[in-house]
Each structure stands twice: as structure tokens, then as C-alpha cells.
């Protein structure tokens, strides 16, 4: 598991498939080979009023870690991550009288997955309850586990195929975490942050 950066690629009046096709061409020209598809999904559950103050549980799955369920509990003051076996989904069903899911918020990002050198690139089409919302590009540099060490290198790679839309500073999520060891839950955090913004924005407009 290496450092992963999630980048939102501006759509600018194009359709989702057109952007994916454009990026696929660019990455293939660099020598990338497609290795299957990927899928990250997120379901959000809210606590019922009888349980006291409002809490939210986000349950995410990542096809890169297919046997794991990631959960993030938001209490309003802090976020607690949890990684469990796949059966956690069964447990969430048992909890249905305490935590209920809003079907309209089911978010997912899916699309082709490429490998190029030690990089893994995923071009994700984001939908929230089946409505197209935008494009998320995930780039993982697998040999390196500390963001501080490889940020410059990853920036160079990102700019190489995404152009000027790449920021010159690390994503906000990495603040205070640049010297920590990167773990899969960090990728999940980044997805959730993006999904949360996408959910609030009207379909397809966010650039």
C-alpha cells in the first residue's frame, strides 16, 4: 500500500465518458496497461433520534481491499476510523433500528484501473444515487509509504498527465499527515471527503 492522491479532474461541459476516454488515451500514451476495473462505494447511515445526539456512520468498500469494510464514524467533534472483515455489513443490518441509511446518498466511484511502472492509476466516474457527479483520478505510488518523501515526485507524475489542473501543494487532507505512514484508511478518508462535497453539489456542475 503506497501513498495515494485523489484528484478531482474538471469536467467542463463534457460528458463523463468523454473525459474518461480522453484520460485513458493520455495514460495509455505514457505506456500504462489496463489491469481490470475498480470500485469504491460509500453508504451513509445516520443515528435515530432515540440514540441521543446525531451521529453518522459512513461505510465504504474499496475493490483494492476486497475483504475489508471501512467505517468512519462522525460524532460532530471527531471522526473515528474502523477497518473490519466483510461481515461488518451484516452487523450494520442488525443495527438498522439504530442507524438508518438514506438511499439517496449512496455514492460510488468506478472505472478502469491502470498500472504504469510502480504507479497505479484509477479513473473513476463518480455517481451519487446513480446521478453523474464528476471525475475522480486516483494515483497511487506503491513503493513509498510516507507522503512527505514522494509528494514532489507524484506531483510531477500527476502534472504529466492531468496538466495544469494539479495543485502545487499537497491536498488539504495531507496537512499534518505528511510525515505519517500512509495506510488504506487514508485513501478511504480522501474518498469520503470528495463524496461529501459531491453530494452537496448539484449534478455535474462542480468543476
Amino acid at each position: 500500500m503506497g501513498v495515494t492522491i485523489l484528484h478531482q479532474f474538471p469536467v467542463e461541459n463534457r460528458t463523463g465518458p468523454a473525459v474518461i476516454e480522453l484520460l485513458t488515451k493520455r495514460i495509455a500514451a505514457l505506456g500504462a496497461v489496463q489491469h481490470g476495473q475498480f470500485l469504491v462505494d460509500c453508504e451513509t447511515y445516520s443515528s435515530v433520534p432515540q440514540l441521543g445526539h446525531q451521529r453518522t456512520v459512513h461505510v465504504l468498500h474499496n475493490s483494492e481491499q476486497p475483504a475489508t469494510v471501512f467505517s468512519l464514524l462522525e460524532t460532530g467533534t471527531k471522526t473515528i476510523p474502523l477497518a473490519t472483515d466483510g461481515l461488518f455489513d451484516l452487523l450494520m443490518m442488525k443495527m438498522s433500528s439504530f442507524y438508518t441509511s438514506k438511499k439517496q446518498t449512496k455514492a460510488e466511484s468506478k472505472g478502469p484501473r491502470f498500472e504504469i511502472g510502480d504507479f497505479c492509476v484509477k479513473l473513476g466516474t463518480v455517481t451519487v444515487s446513480s446521478n453523474f457527479k464528476g471525475i475522480l483520478v486516483e494515483v497511487e505510488y506503491r513503493p513509498c509509504i510516507v507522503p512527505q518523501m514522494c509528494w514532489e515526485l507524484m506531483k510531477e507524475f500527476l502534472q504529466g498527465f492531468l496538466g495544469s489542473s494539479v495543485l502545487s501543494n499537497p491536498p488539504v487532507y495531507f496537512q499534518n499527515k505528511m510525515n505519517d505512514v500512509y495506510t488504506p484508511i487514508d485513501t478511504i478518508h480522501q474518498y469520503l471527503e470528495h463524496f461529501t462535497i459531491f453530494r452537496k453539489s448539484p449534478a455535474g456542475i462542480r468543476t
Binding site: M149, C150, F157
Partner: protein, 295 residues
């Protein structure tokens, strides 16, 4: 020496001829008169024959005397050292030991001869790309062998290296005594698995932190496979039979420069990536980072 053997051979030969002719005399004497001597004057014929053979024997005897006179007498008895006692060995299976001993002496002799030749040739044609200019005479006394050293010496060197580089964490295991296998964790960047043969670095493989510690499988990441390759080059470059300790230290010093593997751009082209790889080469002297293609 060559001539001695020739003379010895001819002397032995003449002894052989002499013995065979003497035998013929006894043959003919013991047979006495035979049918092929005919009827007339058979005694005379027999005597003539005997005389002929005796003359030959005489000549042969002179030959033997002549060739023996030519031989050089060896200077005193051969000293076999302790091996003489082997002849007193009574157990059957150990009686062959002497032959084996002689064989091994022969091999040792050959090795000396060949290594002397190889040494001469190598000294004449330097394959060394380095800039090292050290006087061999001054340091030769330090170590004569680098693959047969006591574990304590190796232990000392490893502890020294460990102390020298605070950001390299060394863990040592000894599957075979005196030949340690060390895992050198370089910060959070990579982990090198280094196998020693005595004081000589014999094998290096570089992997990511999470990967298996097996030293025969290579890393799944291209960048570490490339670094492994370069480590092999450096291992050969720094190898120095005369100063094995220095070789290990220089190698570790060079290895240490990989701590910025992901974070520094190439000295030549200024970019981080080339062929989707960071600068995987470190200059052997200046330790500056270069891409494989830029060095």
C-alpha cells in the same frame, strides 16, 4: 629435474634388461642340451650359446654401472614430517589417507600457482573504475583472509556500521555461524537484505518494508528491483580483498545515500521521474542521484 628423471628411467631400463638376460642364462643352463642343438658337436654349440649370453650380460652390467654412475645422489633422507606416522596406521580404511593427502598438496600447489598468475595479470590490467589510490603496502597487514574470520570481528564491524548511520536499523540473523544475514532498514524508504560471506558482502536484495524477508525473491516494485541491480554493481565495485572492512563501510555509506530515493530529483535532468522511475543510481564517489539513463 627433468634430466634426473630421464637418467633414472634409463638406469631402471638397463636394470630391467640385465635382469631379463641373466634370467636367460639360467633358463638355458637349466634346460641343458636341447633338440635344436642338433646331433653333431652339440656340446660346442651349447657352450657358444652360453658364452654369447654371458657376453650380453656383461655389456648390460656395464650399462647399468654407467647409468647408475650418472645418477645424482639425493641429499639425505626425505623428510615426510608428520605424515610418516600415517604409514603406521593400522586401520584399513585410513590407509588411503596418505594418497589423499598427497593429492591435496598437489591442489594447493596448483592454486598457489594459478593465483599468482591471476594476480600478475590482474595487476597489469586494472578493471577498477574507481578513483581509489591507496598504498597496498601500508595496509596489507590488516587482514589476509576475508572469508574465514571469527564471528566477533564481523559482529564488531556490524555494530560499528550500526553506530555510524543512525537512520539505518540493522537486524542480524545467523543462519550459518560466521556468515551473518543483515536486514538494513533505511528509514521508512526501503529495506536491504545483505548476506555476508565472512567479511565479504556476497548478496544484496532491496525490497519495500512490507515485503517478505526472503533474500532470493526480488521486490515486486520496479524501483527496488533497479536499486537491487545497482547495489550489486556497487557491491562489486567496493569489494576489496585487501581491506574487507573498508569495503563494507564504503558500501554501507553508499547504501545510506538512498534515504532520499523518492525525494530528490536527478542531478542531470532535474526531474523526479524518468520512465516512471525516480533517480535510482547514486554516484559511487559523490553519492549524487541520477537516473539510470542520465548518469
Amino acid at each position: 629435474m627433468e634430466r634426473d628423471i630421464e637418467q633414472l628411467n634409463s638406469a631402471l631400463n638397463s636394470v630391467k634388461v640385465l635382469r631379463s638376460n641373466v634370467r636367460r642364462i639360467f633358463d638355458s643352463v637349466s634346460n641343458g642340451l636341447r633338440a635344436d642343438h642338433g646331433d653333431d658337436g652339440k656340446e660346442n654349440k651349447f657352450i657358444t650359446e652360453l658364452q654369447e649370453i654371458l657376453t650380453t650380460v656383461n655389456t648390460n652390467l656395464r650399462d647399468v654401472e654407467g647409468s647408475v654412475a650418472n645418477l645424482t645422489t639425493p641429499g639425505g633422507p626425505f623428510s615426510l614430517g608428520n605424515t610418516t606416522y600415517l604409514s603406521q596406521e593400522t586401520t584399513l580404511e585410513r590407509q588411503a589417507l596418505y594418497g589423499q593427502l598427497v593429492n591435496s598438496y598437489k591442489w594447493t600447489d596448483k592454486i598457489r600457482e594459478y593465483s599468482a598468475l591471476a594476480g600478475n595479470i590482474l595487476a597489469a590490467n586494472s578493471f577498477n573504475k574507481s578513483y581509489k589510490t591507496f598504498s597496498t603496502t601500508k595496509r596489507r597487514k590488516t587482514q589476509t583472509s576475508n572469508h574465514n574470520v571469527s564471528p566477533e570481528v564481523i559482529e564488531n564491524i556490524i555494530t560499528n556500521v550500526d553506530r555510524l548511520f543512525p537512520d539505518i536499523t540493522l537486524t542480524t540473523s545467523r543462519p550459518f555461524v560466521a556468515n551473518p544475514l543483515i536486514q538494513a532498514s533505511l528509514g521508512r524508504v526501503l529495506r536491504g537484505h545483505i548476506a555476508f560471506k565472512g567479511l565479504m558482502i556476497e548478496w544484496v536484495v532491496v525490497k519495500a518494508h512490507g515485503e517478505s524477508t526472503d533474500i532470493w525473491t526480488e521486490s515486486r516494485y520496479k524501483v527496488f528491483r533497479k536499486v537491487t541491480e545497482n547495489c550489486h554493481a556497487a557491491m562489486c565495485h567496493f569489494h576489496s580483498p585487501m581491506m574487507p572492512e573498508l569495503a563494507v563501510r564504503s558500501f554501507m555509506h553508499w547504501f545510506h545515500s538512498y534515504q532520499n530515493l523518492f525525494s530528490v530529483p536527478c542531478k542531470r535532468c532535474g526531474n523526479h521521474l524518468h520512465n516512471n522511475l525516480p533517480p535510482t543510481w547514486r554516484d559511487l564517489r559523490t553519492l549524487e542521484p541520477y537516473h539510470e539513463e542520465c548518469k
